[in-house]
């Protein structure tokens, strides 16, 4: 065909189909038309359908009074507040459970991932057993298990488990003493900030000295000393401005203190255990990706075991670990939406659940909810990409 068109200039002119640029243009125009046509069709249908069913459109509902209570709120919220506020409350609850989940899952995941590579046969087998069990069971089932089978089986408040130090566990949740910060506490916070700044200065100047002179002085112990001693000194000087509000059994339930509702606990435990299994695999593969030659080179340089890990293995492993780890964080955040199955008041449960049922404005609400997750995803991934670029191998 190509040959024909070359030999026959007339055919070449007339047969636009053989022009790659024209073809590309045509495909793109068709694609655009198809997509917009489809969207137009859908919007048109939606508008007709909503008109028929008498559904109002627009975001006016956000200022209407919600009229339902929410069991856990991080900001002030009453039934007389607006639907807009339920959105914020749900969003904050989602952020809370994701944030805590990410921290706990990272800790557990690193522990198990390192355990998986342990020279201890038993520990390594136990770690892989953990990974294989929890990775292969649906998260929703794990949430149900912790919520319905474990936490629902706890004793009522009167027979709660006393965990000591003022902490109690019962079917209503987990009750902890709550710190109360008194007037002088801002001094302590100031002291903590000062201590952190001092430690950063110490580490930086030490590094500079090492680069200049080659003399290395240990910084870990002095840093820890600074971090603890300065705030502690200030704390005692200003007269211990901290007291604890202990939960106490009054009537049928505990009053006071910090209470963690069972829904949050179940969700957090399940998310942590499930995601930790994936993080452990990420960590394992990251560490295994650092070639043995690197460790051997470190040994040949005479670095100690700790130095080898801290200076050679971990920085290189992190480079491999960070991208998939970010993915796991995003997964955890998205998975936290399963909260709706056990009634933890997260964004999906409060907003796409109760608010949607009450107002019937499905399109606005679902797009707002999706928008939140999309924004969170894009934000996290751009943050991690930035970090990733910083630690990425600079190749010349």
């Amino acid at each position: 065909m190509q040959k024909d068109s070359n030999e026959n200039p007339e055919l070449k002119k007339t047969n636009l189909w053989n022009d790659a640029n024209f073809r590309a243009m045509l495909f793109q125009v068709v694609a655009i038309l198809a997509v917009f046509g489809f969207i137009g069709y859908i919007v048109n249908n939606a508008l007709t359908n909503m008109e028929q069913r008498g559904i109002v459109t627009g975001f006016g509902f956000l200022t209407d009074q919600a009229g339902f209570g929410i069991v856990q709120t991080l900001i002030e919220y009453t039934e007389t507040d607006s639907y807009g506020r339920t959105f914020i409350v749900g969003l904050l609850n989602t952020v809370l459970v994701s944030f805590l989940g990410i921290i706990l899952a990272t800790l557990l995941g690193f522990l198990i991932g390192v355990g998986r590579l342990s020279s201890n046969w038993l520990i390594s087998k136990l770690s892989s057993l953990y990974i294989e069990i929890f990775r292969n069971i649906p998260l929703l089932l794990q949430i149900f298990f912790w919520y319905f089978a474990v936490l629902r089986a706890l004793p009522p408040p009167k027979q709660s488990f006393d965990l000591g130090a003022g902490a109690f566990l019962n079917i209503r949740g987990f009750f902890l003493p709550k710190p109360i910060f008194e007037d002088g506490f801002s001094w302590v916070i100031g002291a903590i900030i000062l201590a952190i700044a001092a430690v950063i200065y110490l580490v930086k100047s030490n590094k500079r000295r090492q680069l200049d002179t080659g003399i290395y002085k240990p910084v870990l112990l002095p840093s820890l000393a600074i971090l603890f001693i300065i705030p502690a000194l200030v704390f005692f000087v200003v007269g211990q401005p901290l007291s604890w509000d202990y939960p106490a059994l009054r009537g049928f339930n505990f009053q006071g203190g910090l209470s963690i509702i069972p829904e949050l606990m179940a969700l957090l435990v399940a998310l942590t255990i499930y995601t930790a299994a994936f993080i452990a695999e990420v960590v394992r593969s990251g560490i295994e990706a650092v070639s043995d030659g690197q460790s051997e080179a470190a040994d040949a340089l005479g670095l100690s075991n700790g130095q080898r890990l801290r200076l050679i293995v971990i920085p290189q492993a992190l480079r491999v670990i960070i991208p998939p780890l970010t993915n796991q964080y995003l997964n955890l955040t998205k998975n936290s939406s399963l909260a709706t199955a056990i009634g933890y008041p997260d964004l999906v449960s409060v907003f796409s659940g109760t608010t949607l049922n009450q107002t019937g404005q499905a399109i606005e609400i679902i797009f707002m909810t999706m928008g939140v997750y999309l924004t969170l995803s894009l934000l996290t991934s751009s943050l991690m990409n930035w970090y990733n670029r910083r630690v990425a191998l600079v190749e010349r």
Binding site: N49, S118, L122, I123, L126, L139, N335, S352
Partner: protein, 365 residues
Amino acid sequence: MGKVHVPKPSLPPPSNSIGAIAWAKKHLFSTPLNSVLTIIGMYLVVTMGYWTINWAFINADWVGDSREACTSSGACWVFVSARFNQFIYGFYPESEIWRVNLMFAIFTVLLLALVIEKTPKKPWIAAFTLVVFPIIAFFLLYGDAFGLERVETHKWGGLMLTLVLAVVGIVASLPIGVLLALGRRSNMPIIKNLCVVYIEFWRGVPLITVLFMASVMLPLFMHAGAETDKLIRAMIGIVLFQAAYMAEVVRGGLQAIPKGQFEAADALGLNYPKTMGLIILPQALKLMTPGIVNTFIALFKDTSLVLIIGLFDLLAIVQSALADPKWLGYSVEGYVFVAFMFWIFCFGMSKYSQHLEKKLNTGHR
């Protein structure tokens, strides 16, 4: 001088460097920390193993048809065995269950044929599984043709529904995923951006919001008066969602194909469809199989979310059975059963995908 030097036979290795004790020394008690960890680990294994075996096997009740049969202190598997049919087939009419079994049987045979390495004409079997089998399965399950009685989808449930959702999700999302991935790697900016937006959108939102969307918004998007089945709506949601993930798997496969292959195809004068269809995709698909199996595992677990929009998959049907006042208090047994079923499938598939990865790794580089 004719003395021949005969070396003495070598001594056996010192007794502390071979055998079980040496192994334990090396692998369990090499350092003080390791010894402590080993002892804690052993304690955990022994106590938990003892408790589990006691609970699940020794003290468990297996036969009976009501909770009165559960007299011992261990697990009450009667709860599962009494409702086993329901957990597997949902509310499918008892007289028609052979159809589900037949479908499962055909599926198993096809899968085995695909998994076993030496099966002849594999591409044809794969094509049959992806194209013809879904049609057969549809008529077997739904009926309403060839003299088969119609079984409405709201009667589908249990493990059968879980499998149907997962298989439909994968089979239908594969072609869409291939198109999206090709689009994402295309030189045409508009097509590329459309595909990127599609993929990033679905990958950025949780499946649960997709299912909500499918169940409440889809009816609004349809032509006025058009009714759709709840199951179909869930499937549409799952396929749209899964296609984005599939596209990323396919893209990974495409990226692994060396540039020389594209250039060779160009040099042969092949056009785009031929380059992709004859040169690139066959090689990429082979590389993608582990990735596809992994997304299948993820989807298989995720199908349990349909519980939230009111479909009775394996988890949902057990969850609803737990609420039966006749069987209150056996939630652990129910959950362990569901977990075991999911685990068997997922673990088997993940082992298969690891095996594939190993096999593909050796041959290709």
